[in-house]
Protein backbone atom coordinates (compact mmCIF):
# COMPACT_ATOMS: atom_id res chain seq x y z
CA UNK A 1 0.00 0.00 0.00
CA UNK A 2 1.41 3.34 -1.04
CA UNK A 3 0.65 6.33 1.20
CA UNK A 4 0.66 9.66 -0.60
CA UNK A 5 0.65 13.10 1.06
CA UNK A 6 -2.74 14.81 0.87
CA UNK A 7 -4.38 17.97 2.12
CA UNK A 8 -7.62 18.41 4.02
CA UNK A 9 -10.74 18.61 1.80
CA UNK A 10 -12.69 21.88 1.74
CA UNK A 11 -15.77 20.46 3.50
CA UNK A 12 -17.27 20.45 6.99
CA UNK A 13 -15.83 16.97 7.46
CA UNK A 14 -12.48 18.45 6.44
CA UNK A 15 -12.86 21.07 9.16
CA UNK A 16 -13.53 18.31 11.73
CA UNK A 17 -10.49 16.35 10.55
CA UNK A 18 -8.28 19.46 10.54
CA UNK A 19 -9.40 20.43 14.03
CA UNK A 20 -9.01 17.02 15.63
CA UNK A 21 -5.63 16.29 14.01
CA UNK A 22 -4.27 19.79 14.68
CA UNK A 23 -5.41 19.84 18.33
CA UNK A 24 -4.05 16.35 19.00
CA UNK A 25 -0.69 17.02 17.31
CA UNK A 26 -0.36 20.40 19.07
CA UNK A 27 -0.69 18.66 22.42
CA UNK A 28 1.80 15.96 21.42
CA UNK A 29 4.40 18.44 20.12
CA UNK A 30 4.13 20.82 23.07
CA UNK A 31 4.32 17.84 25.44
CA UNK A 32 7.46 16.67 23.60
CA UNK A 33 8.99 20.16 23.94
CA UNK A 34 8.22 20.12 27.66
CA UNK A 35 10.04 16.79 27.96
CA UNK A 36 13.11 18.35 26.32
CA UNK A 37 12.91 21.28 28.76
CA UNK A 38 13.03 18.83 31.66
CA UNK A 39 16.56 17.99 30.48
CA UNK A 40 17.83 21.58 30.66
CA UNK A 41 18.73 21.51 34.39
CA UNK A 42 21.21 18.68 33.65
CA UNK A 43 23.25 21.23 31.65
CA UNK A 44 24.16 22.88 34.93
CA UNK A 45 26.37 19.89 35.71
CA UNK A 46 28.65 21.02 32.88
CA UNK A 47 29.53 24.21 34.74
CA UNK A 48 28.29 27.56 35.83
CA UNK A 49 27.85 30.60 33.59
CA UNK A 50 27.63 33.75 35.68
CA UNK A 51 26.10 37.00 34.53
CA UNK A 52 29.32 38.80 35.45
CA UNK A 53 31.45 36.62 33.18
CA UNK A 54 29.16 37.33 30.23
CA UNK A 55 28.89 41.05 30.82
CA UNK A 56 32.64 41.34 31.24
CA UNK A 57 33.33 39.46 28.01
CA UNK A 58 32.55 42.34 25.67
Amino acid sequence: MEIVPMTVPDTLEGAYVLSVVDFFLSIVIIWAISLVLYLLPYLNKLGDVTDESLKGGH
Partner: protein, 377 residues
Protein backbone atom coordinates in the same frame (compact mmCIF):
# COMPACT_ATOMS: atom_id res chain seq x y z
CA UNK B 1 -15.61 84.59 -17.57
CA UNK B 2 -17.91 83.13 -14.92
CA UNK B 3 -18.34 79.98 -17.00
CA UNK B 4 -14.57 79.66 -17.23
CA UNK B 5 -14.24 80.11 -13.46
CA UNK B 6 -16.95 77.51 -12.73
CA UNK B 7 -15.32 75.12 -15.19
CA UNK B 8 -11.98 75.47 -13.42
CA UNK B 9 -13.72 75.03 -10.06
CA UNK B 10 -15.41 71.86 -11.32
CA UNK B 11 -12.07 70.52 -12.57
CA UNK B 12 -10.61 71.27 -9.14
CA UNK B 13 -13.48 69.49 -7.37
CA UNK B 14 -12.97 66.53 -9.69
CA UNK B 15 -9.37 66.31 -8.47
CA UNK B 16 -10.57 65.96 -4.87
CA UNK B 17 -12.34 63.03 -3.28
CA UNK B 18 -15.43 65.05 -2.40
CA UNK B 19 -17.53 63.61 -5.21
CA UNK B 20 -16.67 59.98 -4.53
CA UNK B 21 -17.18 59.70 -0.79
CA UNK B 22 -19.80 57.05 0.08
CA UNK B 23 -21.96 56.38 3.16
CA UNK B 24 -19.75 53.33 3.73
CA UNK B 25 -16.68 55.56 3.84
CA UNK B 26 -18.39 57.80 6.39
CA UNK B 27 -19.30 54.79 8.54
CA UNK B 28 -15.72 53.49 8.44
CA UNK B 29 -14.43 56.93 9.39
CA UNK B 30 -16.68 56.67 12.45
CA UNK B 31 -15.26 53.16 13.12
CA UNK B 32 -11.74 54.61 12.95
CA UNK B 33 -12.83 57.32 15.36
CA UNK B 34 -14.22 54.71 17.77
CA UNK B 35 -10.89 52.84 17.71
CA UNK B 36 -9.06 56.03 18.57
CA UNK B 37 -11.62 56.80 21.31
CA UNK B 38 -11.07 53.32 22.81
CA UNK B 39 -7.32 53.90 22.74
CA UNK B 40 -7.35 57.37 24.24
CA UNK B 41 -10.35 57.32 26.57
CA UNK B 42 -10.40 53.66 27.62
CA UNK B 43 -6.65 53.02 27.22
CA UNK B 44 -7.29 49.79 25.24
CA UNK B 45 -4.02 48.97 23.42
CA UNK B 46 -3.23 52.61 22.47
CA UNK B 47 0.05 51.57 20.82
CA UNK B 48 -1.96 49.65 18.25
CA UNK B 49 -5.37 51.28 18.05
CA UNK B 50 -4.16 54.85 17.45
CA UNK B 51 -2.29 53.86 14.28
CA UNK B 52 -5.00 51.47 13.10
CA UNK B 53 -7.77 54.00 13.75
CA UNK B 54 -5.92 56.86 12.07
CA UNK B 55 -5.05 54.94 8.93
CA UNK B 56 -8.57 53.47 8.81
CA UNK B 57 -9.90 57.03 8.64
CA UNK B 58 -7.37 58.03 5.97
CA UNK B 59 -8.09 54.88 3.92
CA UNK B 60 -11.74 55.87 3.75
CA UNK B 61 -11.18 59.43 2.61
CA UNK B 62 -11.25 59.13 -1.19
CA UNK B 63 -8.94 61.23 -3.26
CA UNK B 64 -5.35 60.44 -2.37
CA UNK B 65 -3.43 57.42 -3.61
CA UNK B 66 -1.98 56.72 -0.18
CA UNK B 67 -3.41 53.20 0.00
CA UNK B 68 -3.35 52.46 -3.75
CA UNK B 69 -0.48 50.50 -5.30
CA UNK B 70 2.50 52.86 -5.28
CA UNK B 71 1.14 54.83 -2.32
CA UNK B 72 3.05 55.12 0.95
CA UNK B 73 0.59 53.09 3.05
CA UNK B 74 0.54 50.43 0.36
CA UNK B 75 4.25 49.89 0.92
CA UNK B 76 3.55 49.40 4.62
CA UNK B 77 1.02 46.75 3.61
CA UNK B 78 3.67 45.14 1.40
CA UNK B 79 5.58 44.37 4.60
CA UNK B 80 2.62 42.26 5.70
CA UNK B 81 2.01 40.85 2.24
CA UNK B 82 5.57 39.59 2.02
CA UNK B 83 5.31 38.35 5.63
CA UNK B 84 8.28 40.41 6.83
CA UNK B 85 6.64 42.40 9.63
CA UNK B 86 5.27 39.59 11.86
CA UNK B 87 8.69 37.87 12.24
CA UNK B 88 10.28 41.24 13.08
CA UNK B 89 7.67 41.76 15.80
CA UNK B 90 8.54 38.33 17.17
CA UNK B 91 12.22 39.35 17.17
CA UNK B 92 11.30 42.28 19.41
CA UNK B 93 9.02 40.19 21.61
CA UNK B 94 11.79 37.62 22.08
CA UNK B 95 14.14 40.34 23.30
CA UNK B 96 11.53 41.53 25.80
CA UNK B 97 10.46 38.23 27.33
CA UNK B 98 12.01 36.12 30.08
CA UNK B 99 11.14 32.49 29.37
CA UNK B 100 12.37 31.49 32.84
CA UNK B 101 8.89 30.74 34.29
CA UNK B 102 8.18 28.37 31.40
CA UNK B 103 11.55 26.62 31.61
CA UNK B 104 11.18 26.29 35.38
CA UNK B 105 7.95 24.31 35.18
CA UNK B 106 7.63 22.49 31.84
CA UNK B 107 4.64 20.47 33.07
CA UNK B 108 2.44 23.56 32.70
CA UNK B 109 3.39 23.94 29.02
CA UNK B 110 0.61 21.57 28.05
CA UNK B 111 -1.85 24.31 29.02
CA UNK B 112 -0.47 26.32 26.11
CA UNK B 113 -1.98 23.71 23.81
CA UNK B 114 -5.10 22.99 25.87
CA UNK B 115 -6.17 26.64 25.73
CA UNK B 116 -6.39 26.58 21.96
CA UNK B 117 -9.53 24.52 21.48
CA UNK B 118 -11.23 27.83 20.68
CA UNK B 119 -9.32 27.92 17.39
CA UNK B 120 -10.91 24.67 16.31
CA UNK B 121 -14.40 25.52 17.57
CA UNK B 122 -14.24 28.65 15.39
CA UNK B 123 -12.93 26.71 12.37
CA UNK B 124 -15.79 24.20 12.56
CA UNK B 125 -18.42 26.90 13.09
CA UNK B 126 -17.01 29.04 10.26
CA UNK B 127 -17.14 26.09 7.90
CA UNK B 128 -20.64 25.14 9.14
CA UNK B 129 -21.97 28.55 8.08
CA UNK B 130 -21.19 27.57 4.49
CA UNK B 131 -19.83 31.06 3.82
CA UNK B 132 -16.12 30.35 4.13
CA UNK B 133 -13.60 28.05 2.50
CA UNK B 134 -11.55 25.87 4.83
CA UNK B 135 -8.55 28.18 4.33
CA UNK B 136 -10.69 31.17 5.34
CA UNK B 137 -12.05 29.19 8.31
CA UNK B 138 -8.46 28.49 9.37
CA UNK B 139 -7.61 32.19 9.24
CA UNK B 140 -10.71 32.99 11.32
CA UNK B 141 -9.91 30.24 13.81
CA UNK B 142 -6.40 31.52 14.45
CA UNK B 143 -7.96 34.65 16.00
CA UNK B 144 -8.49 32.35 19.00
CA UNK B 145 -4.71 31.97 19.29
CA UNK B 146 -4.76 35.48 20.81
CA UNK B 147 -1.48 36.30 19.15
CA UNK B 148 -1.53 39.27 16.76
CA UNK B 149 1.60 38.59 14.66
CA UNK B 150 0.75 34.89 14.38
CA UNK B 151 -2.83 35.70 13.34
CA UNK B 152 -1.48 38.04 10.65
CA UNK B 153 1.13 35.50 9.53
CA UNK B 154 -1.35 32.63 9.15
CA UNK B 155 -3.99 34.84 7.55
CA UNK B 156 -1.54 36.17 4.96
CA UNK B 157 -0.75 32.56 4.05
CA UNK B 158 -4.33 31.26 4.03
CA UNK B 159 -6.71 34.13 3.21
CA UNK B 160 -4.96 37.50 2.76
CA UNK B 161 -8.23 39.20 1.80
CA UNK B 162 -9.48 38.61 5.37
CA UNK B 163 -6.50 40.38 6.97
CA UNK B 164 -8.35 43.53 8.13
CA UNK B 165 -11.16 41.58 9.78
CA UNK B 166 -8.84 39.03 11.41
CA UNK B 167 -6.33 41.63 12.62
CA UNK B 168 -8.99 43.95 14.02
CA UNK B 169 -10.77 41.06 15.77
CA UNK B 170 -7.53 39.62 17.20
CA UNK B 171 -6.19 42.91 18.56
CA UNK B 172 -9.59 44.13 19.79
CA UNK B 173 -10.34 40.95 21.72
CA UNK B 174 -6.81 40.88 23.14
CA UNK B 175 -7.42 44.38 24.46
CA UNK B 176 -10.78 43.26 25.86
CA UNK B 177 -9.49 40.09 27.56
CA UNK B 178 -9.90 41.56 31.07
CA UNK B 179 -13.63 41.73 30.24
CA UNK B 180 -13.99 38.51 28.20
CA UNK B 181 -12.07 36.00 30.34
CA UNK B 182 -13.13 36.46 34.02
CA UNK B 183 -16.80 35.42 33.61
CA UNK B 184 -15.72 32.23 31.81
CA UNK B 185 -13.07 31.50 34.45
CA UNK B 186 -15.51 32.01 37.31
CA UNK B 187 -18.19 29.92 35.64
CA UNK B 188 -15.89 26.92 35.36
CA UNK B 189 -14.17 27.05 38.77
CA UNK B 190 -15.15 27.05 42.43
CA UNK B 191 -13.96 29.64 44.93
CA UNK B 192 -11.77 26.96 46.54
CA UNK B 193 -10.13 26.16 43.19
CA UNK B 194 -9.46 29.82 42.46
CA UNK B 195 -7.82 30.14 45.88
CA UNK B 196 -5.28 27.34 45.37
CA UNK B 197 -1.79 28.62 46.17
CA UNK B 198 1.11 27.54 43.98
CA UNK B 199 4.46 26.26 45.23
CA UNK B 200 7.57 28.32 44.55
CA UNK B 201 9.16 27.76 41.10
CA UNK B 202 12.83 26.85 40.85
CA UNK B 203 15.59 29.23 39.81
CA UNK B 204 16.55 28.94 36.11
CA UNK B 205 20.25 29.45 35.44
CA UNK B 206 21.77 31.66 32.76
CA UNK B 207 23.14 28.62 30.93
CA UNK B 208 19.63 27.11 30.62
CA UNK B 209 18.26 30.40 29.35
CA UNK B 210 21.00 30.61 26.71
CA UNK B 211 20.55 27.03 25.50
CA UNK B 212 16.73 27.33 25.40
CA UNK B 213 16.48 29.44 22.18
CA UNK B 214 18.73 27.00 20.31
CA UNK B 215 16.66 24.00 21.41
CA UNK B 216 13.36 25.58 20.40
CA UNK B 217 14.68 26.97 17.10
CA UNK B 218 15.98 23.53 16.11
CA UNK B 219 12.77 21.73 17.09
CA UNK B 220 10.51 24.21 15.29
CA UNK B 221 12.62 24.38 12.12
CA UNK B 222 12.70 20.59 12.07
CA UNK B 223 9.04 19.85 12.82
CA UNK B 224 7.10 22.98 11.85
CA UNK B 225 8.76 24.67 8.84
CA UNK B 226 5.66 26.79 7.95
CA UNK B 227 6.00 28.85 11.16
CA UNK B 228 9.79 28.67 11.40
CA UNK B 229 10.31 32.34 10.41
CA UNK B 230 8.30 33.52 13.41
CA UNK B 231 9.68 31.23 16.09
CA UNK B 232 13.24 31.50 14.77
CA UNK B 233 13.10 35.28 15.10
CA UNK B 234 11.47 35.00 18.53
CA UNK B 235 14.34 32.81 19.66
CA UNK B 236 16.99 35.05 18.08
CA UNK B 237 15.56 38.02 19.97
CA UNK B 238 15.55 36.00 23.18
CA UNK B 239 19.14 34.87 22.63
CA UNK B 240 20.24 38.50 22.19
CA UNK B 241 18.57 39.23 25.53
CA UNK B 242 19.91 36.26 27.48
CA UNK B 243 23.57 36.30 26.45
CA UNK B 244 23.88 39.73 28.17
CA UNK B 245 26.87 40.45 25.97
CA UNK B 246 25.05 42.37 23.23
CA UNK B 247 22.83 44.51 25.39
CA UNK B 248 22.83 47.29 22.81
CA UNK B 249 21.35 45.00 20.15
CA UNK B 250 18.82 43.51 22.57
CA UNK B 251 17.66 46.98 23.63
CA UNK B 252 17.47 48.22 20.04
CA UNK B 253 15.39 45.24 18.97
CA UNK B 254 13.11 45.42 22.02
CA UNK B 255 12.58 49.17 21.85
CA UNK B 256 13.52 51.10 18.71
CA UNK B 257 12.95 48.40 16.10
CA UNK B 258 9.78 47.25 17.86
CA UNK B 259 8.41 50.79 17.84
CA UNK B 260 9.17 51.32 14.15
CA UNK B 261 7.61 47.98 13.21
CA UNK B 262 4.55 48.70 15.36
CA UNK B 263 3.96 51.95 13.45
CA UNK B 264 4.30 50.19 10.10
CA UNK B 265 2.06 47.32 11.25
CA UNK B 266 -0.74 49.56 12.49
CA UNK B 267 -0.65 51.69 9.34
CA UNK B 268 -0.72 48.56 7.19
CA UNK B 269 -3.66 46.99 9.03
CA UNK B 270 -5.68 50.21 9.25
CA UNK B 271 -5.16 51.03 5.59
CA UNK B 272 -6.83 47.75 4.59
CA UNK B 273 -10.07 48.75 6.33
CA UNK B 274 -11.64 50.37 3.28
CA UNK B 275 -15.45 50.40 3.35
CA UNK B 276 -15.88 48.34 0.19
CA UNK B 277 -13.99 45.37 1.66
CA UNK B 278 -14.73 45.78 5.37
CA UNK B 279 -18.44 46.56 5.50
CA UNK B 280 -19.84 43.13 4.77
CA UNK B 281 -21.94 40.56 6.61
CA UNK B 282 -18.86 38.33 6.63
CA UNK B 283 -17.06 40.87 8.79
CA UNK B 284 -19.77 40.61 11.44
CA UNK B 285 -19.56 36.82 11.27
CA UNK B 286 -15.77 36.90 11.62
CA UNK B 287 -15.98 39.21 14.65
CA UNK B 288 -18.56 36.88 16.23
CA UNK B 289 -16.53 33.75 15.51
CA UNK B 290 -13.40 35.42 16.86
CA UNK B 291 -15.18 36.14 20.13
CA UNK B 292 -16.35 32.52 20.34
CA UNK B 293 -12.74 31.42 19.72
CA UNK B 294 -11.49 33.56 22.62
CA UNK B 295 -14.21 32.28 24.98
CA UNK B 296 -13.67 28.68 23.85
CA UNK B 297 -9.89 28.97 24.34
CA UNK B 298 -10.27 30.40 27.84
CA UNK B 299 -12.73 27.65 28.77
CA UNK B 300 -10.62 24.82 27.35
CA UNK B 301 -7.54 26.12 29.16
CA UNK B 302 -9.34 26.14 32.52
CA UNK B 303 -10.83 22.71 31.87
CA UNK B 304 -7.38 21.43 30.85
CA UNK B 305 -5.90 22.66 34.14
CA UNK B 306 -8.73 21.00 36.09
CA UNK B 307 -8.07 17.75 34.24
CA UNK B 308 -4.37 18.00 35.15
CA UNK B 309 -5.43 18.18 38.80
CA UNK B 310 -6.95 14.69 38.51
CA UNK B 311 -3.40 13.35 38.27
CA UNK B 312 -1.40 15.81 40.39
CA UNK B 313 -0.63 15.49 44.08
CA UNK B 314 0.12 19.21 44.41
CA UNK B 315 -2.92 20.76 42.78
CA UNK B 316 -2.48 23.72 40.46
CA UNK B 317 -4.72 26.76 40.38
CA UNK B 318 -7.01 26.13 37.36
CA UNK B 319 -6.96 29.84 36.53
CA UNK B 320 -3.48 29.19 35.12
CA UNK B 321 -5.16 27.35 32.26
CA UNK B 322 -6.80 30.51 30.98
CA UNK B 323 -3.35 32.10 30.61
CA UNK B 324 -2.43 29.40 28.09
CA UNK B 325 -4.35 31.29 25.42
CA UNK B 326 -1.20 33.42 24.74
CA UNK B 327 -1.57 37.20 24.51
CA UNK B 328 1.50 37.78 26.69
CA UNK B 329 1.25 39.14 29.37
CA UNK B 330 -2.41 40.18 29.36
CA UNK B 331 -3.82 36.68 29.96
CA UNK B 332 -1.36 36.00 32.81
CA UNK B 333 -2.32 39.31 34.41
CA UNK B 334 -6.04 38.49 34.12
CA UNK B 335 -5.50 35.11 35.84
CA UNK B 336 -3.49 36.86 38.57
CA UNK B 337 -6.16 39.51 39.17
CA UNK B 338 -8.98 36.93 39.35
CA UNK B 339 -6.95 34.85 41.83
CA UNK B 340 -6.16 37.93 43.93
CA UNK B 341 -9.86 38.70 44.29
CA UNK B 342 -10.37 35.35 46.03
CA UNK B 343 -7.21 35.51 48.13
CA UNK B 344 -5.34 38.83 48.43
CA UNK B 345 -2.10 36.96 49.29
CA UNK B 346 -2.19 34.59 46.32
CA UNK B 347 0.27 35.97 43.76
CA UNK B 348 0.13 33.64 40.75
CA UNK B 349 1.47 36.01 38.08
CA UNK B 350 4.85 34.26 37.73
CA UNK B 351 3.18 30.85 37.64
CA UNK B 352 0.70 32.09 35.02
CA UNK B 353 3.55 33.39 32.85
CA UNK B 354 4.64 29.79 32.19
CA UNK B 355 1.44 28.66 30.42
CA UNK B 356 1.10 32.17 28.99
CA UNK B 357 4.46 31.90 27.21
CA UNK B 358 3.70 28.30 26.25
CA UNK B 359 0.56 29.69 24.64
CA UNK B 360 2.75 31.56 22.14
CA UNK B 361 4.25 28.23 21.13
CA UNK B 362 0.82 26.61 21.25
CA UNK B 363 -0.55 29.11 18.73
CA UNK B 364 2.54 28.75 16.54
CA UNK B 365 2.32 24.96 16.62
CA UNK B 366 -1.42 24.97 15.85
CA UNK B 367 -0.86 27.48 13.05
CA UNK B 368 2.08 25.51 11.65
CA UNK B 369 0.17 22.23 11.64
CA UNK B 370 -2.84 23.97 10.07
CA UNK B 371 -0.71 25.41 7.26
CA UNK B 372 0.90 22.02 6.69
CA UNK B 373 -2.46 20.19 6.63
CA UNK B 374 -3.83 22.73 4.16
CA UNK B 375 -0.78 22.31 1.94
CA UNK B 376 0.58 25.83 2.47
CA UNK B 377 4.34 26.34 2.76
Amino acid sequence: MIEQFLGLLLALVDQTGLMSITPGNLLMIVVGGVLIYLALAKKYEPFLLIGIGFSCIVANVPGSDLTAPGGLFHYAYSGLEKVIIPPLIFLGVGAMVDFGPMIARPSLMILGAAAHAGIFIAIILAKATGMFTIAEAGAIGIIGGADGPMAIFVTMKLAPHLLPQVAVAAYSYMALMPLIQPPVMKLLTTKAERSIEMTQIRHVTRLEKIVFPFVIAIIVNLLLPPVAPLITMLMLGNLLREVLMVERLAKTVANDLMNVITIILTVAVGSTMAAETFLTFKTLLILGLGLIAFIGGTASGVIGAKMMNWFLKDKINPLLGSAGIASVPIAARVAHVVALKENPYNFIIMHAMGPNLAGVFGTAISGGIMLALLGVK
